[in-house]
Assembly symmetry: C2
Homo-oligomer: 594 residues x 2
């Protein structure tokens, strides 16, 4: 391929709307072009990189006994009604009606289609386990696409679905899939990707992992413990709160004029936020009923945990007069008799056994001090619906059963839920893949069954495994670039060698470069040949933007020394090689890396 | 790959809803599964075949300087508004609104997206010509999906778009693209595919060709001349009508009671349909205005030609009282003064110079005889809007200019528009590809311009080139199958060798087959290994359904002769080969075919 024929423009200026480097470099290097919000066309260099990533994924999926299939993009809504997701998934699921009036969806994930495809095939135990996967375009109507290919609305994805006769068999396979994912990320050039425990969200199931590339450009927050190796998405990480010393102070109403925030109240009363009981109020999306969550003042709400507990989406509350709530002064004491019917009151685990707390008094400009959760709230909330003894646990928070739950965000410097040390650190990460133990959520809802060797009928257990191909390409770029362009790993670089003929109007340069181009092609080395009559500066900045691992420079000066220059994009290699030896040298370098 | 692990069921019974063989065989062989009307999932064997077809297409597109890109499936409606197709294309274009309320479409073809991608790149003449292509899923909301993968709503397509600085350059490239298509069809195993002149339909442009696999299963009708090689889709084929001897009979009103059809009138008046002037009435979809088309009684309307002439879609008319039309008795004489305002009257070329015709008298139960088109209609229609001399041409039909147009269907045994012999025959065909000279329809509408070497600004000229991958796979199956299954050409077969271990419980069979499986894999021969403990009949009928070109049969009987059996799916090869020689023999056979 000659660079002079390569379609797409390369330029120096960073586009104003690009927040992260990979986005800017992919626009500047002629990899992608904006079409609509979160929707891009792509040019040849990115196509080639994506084909290579796809081929690596295919090989690794086949190596764990996967079979490639293809599901439709447009699916009948009836399939999603079978699983219940037609109702439960939000606006990111694109729903439409076809010309005959039938409701349809654009598949943003394909659990339903996978079950539909193998429901009959999988009727006998002897056919298990098996795994199917596809590489296909998906559409997800994201509310906030961002960061170029990191979060888009239309994307190419590898999604895989495995089927098993037992949870144990799924778990064994899950380990194989996890290992395959590690090989994939290593092969595409990001061995530093780590897996973290994650929240299963709308997929259902219990155990799941995300594969994260740690990067400031990421939109996920990850809790890491350097002491024991614990890693989890902040959405899923358990928050452990160290109890404060108990105190027997009395519940006392105090006047707190002009105090509107936790900080102001604590300042006014000369106490600290961890000695306060804070209220955060939401409404359920389903019926707008109120959800009042109390946490210790130094904790933040983890809305994913709250949503999972409630089983429905929520939004920040609009507090009306008939809510029974006094904005700014909401507290748990006496709240249950004021609250609108249908409301829910929840307590975060950080409040278990807590005492000597400041809390709102449910009337303007008044707070309580000296609140002891067990002493002052047990009777009211056990009567309200928490049941007998709900508030009278032992000193272990777990003993409170359903009464106190984990609704809080883990924090930097917090306690590791695995080793108990105060070693948690929070990093940003880009999610480049995920794996889920789905269980029987889909097979049960869609009536997939198999007959076992003893004639008994069971529901198969499923796992699912996703990788976004475009996001992975962008993540590799994010991990491996400099200010001048991407530094593609050899395994997924659009080409292997970038051949630059500097001063191509010089007959000996032209002859040497043309000959090398032919030799490299004959040797099946993928070469991009820049034979344009342009300044060396333009040539090299274009080469930097294309990020090809090896560069051969033919110039009058080199040729005067009977050499060409061989440099690597990552600058670790820079040598002069006789022009007749450079093809062998390149082949050797490529061979070493494979 | 072991057959025992191959996902998908194979069975004997032809599904009741399968009209054509390839559909039935692809269902029966575990290639595809029905998901919704015109929407299928596919299993591994079809995936492998489609990957091979895609790779062949990629190689041939690259060989004519194409560059692979990718366009989005979901496109903003604004792009289609730029070209004008958002309005002009019918319900097959799926329109929807995204979560932010923006109107969008699912791309069923990508001319707009192609122009959007290269509009800036193509601003300078020196970058021309260039061609981009993609292989991508498309959705077209067909009114009547049918015949399995032949006409579906969701399909994988290779679509290519070329850009040129002149019509001449486009024409040169068009010839290269035509040749590339011929190579593609030959390489996938259907060299018998022919190109025919076609109608450009909604694509715009003038010259276009369809690549047709002649097959009774096809839904297109093709006019072929064996004398000169003329080939055209019936939609586009010019209809030549031999004039009848002139006659000077007078225009006479006659009473024709109970005559409702052309045949009844002609019977009653002892004349033949070719001596009649028939009216066919439509309404425009845009405003429901009437279109009255007169043809010679022995001609049928070619609605594609009529639609192209009118520039809008039409539907059969509902004749109301205020239309001015007398159903069953519509004739051209005096019609213009009765007809509702806004109506259109058209004459087919078959009526040019015609005389002594029967036609309706525009009142119930009356016809005219002795109509001479030129003598009796010139004054009325030249006044009506056809302009002076419109009806007074010379004896060449072409001289009539716009007055008489070709609106009729070419017929079996009709006159070849190329060589003039009465040699036309009509065949059915499956359209497996098409190429269009688009001209400047899209570039002009979307303001794509380039600066020429002299500084002048011009609009580039476009071509476009499509192949449906799934339809091509089904067409190859349609062309190459027997009652037991597909007979895949080696180049696109899901695997190259099908290894059957008959009586695998026999230790020597197991040992030999296992060893051959290993040897074939080591030799990079694609092998599907049937090591199931099933009857030979089941094994062979499954092998027939999978249609793999070469089959190696290991059985106790063969082994007793120190041989294995090597047969080809098309039955042209059947030999006994020493088991230690069969891998070399297979490699030789594969090598010969490549």
């Amino acid at each position: 391929m000659k660079l002079s024929k390569l379609i797409g423009d390369r330029f120096k200026e960073r586009p104003a709307d690009c927040v992260i480097d990979s986005h800017a470099l992919m626009i500047r290097g002629g990899y992608i072009k904006y079409v609509a919000n979160g929707i891009y066309s792509s040019y040849l260099p990115l196509r080639r990189t994506m084909h290579k990533i796809e081929q690596i994924i295919r090989e690794e999926m086949d190596a764990i006994d996967g079979q490639e299939v293809q599901f439709p993009i447009a699916l009948p809504a009836s399939l999603w009604e079978e699983s219940g997701r037609y109702e439960s998934v939000g606006k990111e699921l694109l729903r439409f009606t076809d010309r005959s009036g039938s409701p349809m969806v654009l598949g943003m994930t394909h659990e339903e289609a996978a079950v539909q495809l193998v429901r009959e095939y999988g009727q006998t135990y002897s056919r298990y386990p098996f795994m199917i996967y596809q590489i296909q375009t998906k559409f997800r109507d994201e509310a906030r696409p961002r960061a170029g290919l990191i979060r888009v609305r239309e994307f190419t994805m590898k999604d895989a679905y495995s089927f098993h006769t037992s949870q144990e068999d799924l778990e064994e396979y899950y380990i194989r899939a996890h290992a395959a994912y590690e090989r994939i990320f290593a092969r595409v050039g990001v061995p530093e990707v780590i897996s973290v425990a994650s929240d299963s969200g709308m997929m259902g199931g219990n155990v799941s992992h995300e594969f994260m590339l740690l990067s400031p450009a990421g939109e996920d927050s990850i809790a890491l413990c350097d002491a024991c190796g614990y890693r989890a998405n902040m959405e899923a990480a358990e928050c452990i709160t160290e109890p404060l010393p108990a105190s027997a102070s009395c519940l006392t109403e105090v006047h707190t004029p002009d105090c509107h925030t936790i900080e102001e109240v604590c300042d006014f009363l000369h106490t600290s936020p961890e000695r306060s009981c804070k209220a955060v109020v939401y409404q359920k999306n389903t019926d707008d009923s109120y959800v009042v969550l109390f946490l210790r003042g130094d904790r933040e709400v983890n809305e994913t945990k709250l949503t999972n507990f409630l089983g429905c989406e929520i939004h920040p509350a609009v507090i009306t007069e008939d809510s029974g709530l006094t904005a700014g002064f909401i507290g748990p004491v006496g709240l249950t008799k004021r609250l609108a019917a249908g409301s829910t009151v929840l307590f975060d685990r950080s409040l278990a056994h807590a005492s000597d707390l400041v809390c709102g008094a449910n009337k303007p400009d008044y707070h309580y001090t000296g609140l002891s959760v067990e002493r002052d709230l047990a009777a009211e909330y056990e009567a309200y619906g928490y049941g007998p003894s709900a508030f009278r646990g032992t000193d272990s928070a777990a003993d409170y059963g359903i009464s106190f739950h984990d609704f809080a965000k883990i924090t930097e410097g917090g306690i590791c839920p695995h080793c108990g040390k105060k070693t948690i650190r929070i990093s940003r990460g880009i999610e480049v893949g995920n794996i889920f133990q789905l269980g029987t959520k889909y097979t049960e809802a869609m009536h997939m069954e198999y007959t076992d060797s003893d004639g008994s009928v069971h529901t198969p257990v499923m796992g699912c495994y996703g990788i976004g191909i475009g996001r992975l390409a962008a993540s590799v770029c994010e991990a491996h670039h400099d200010e001048y362009g991407p530094i593609w790993p050899l395994s997924i670089a659009p080409w292997q060698v970038h051949l630059c003929a500097v001063r191509v109007d010089d007959a000996s340069v032209r002859a040497c470069a043309d000959s090398l181009y032919e030799q490299l092609n004959d040797a099946h080395v993928e070469v991009l040949y820049d034979d344009r009559s342009v300044r060396a500066g333009i040539m090299f900045s274009d080469a930097d933007l294309l990020g090809i691992p090896y560069r051969i420079i033919v110039s009058p000066r080199n040729l005067s020394e009977q050499c060409v220059e061989l440099v690597s994009r990552d600058k670790t290699l820079q040598e002069k090689v006789p022009s007749e030896a450079v093809v062998d040298r390149i082949r050797q370098l490529i061979y070493e890396k494979q």
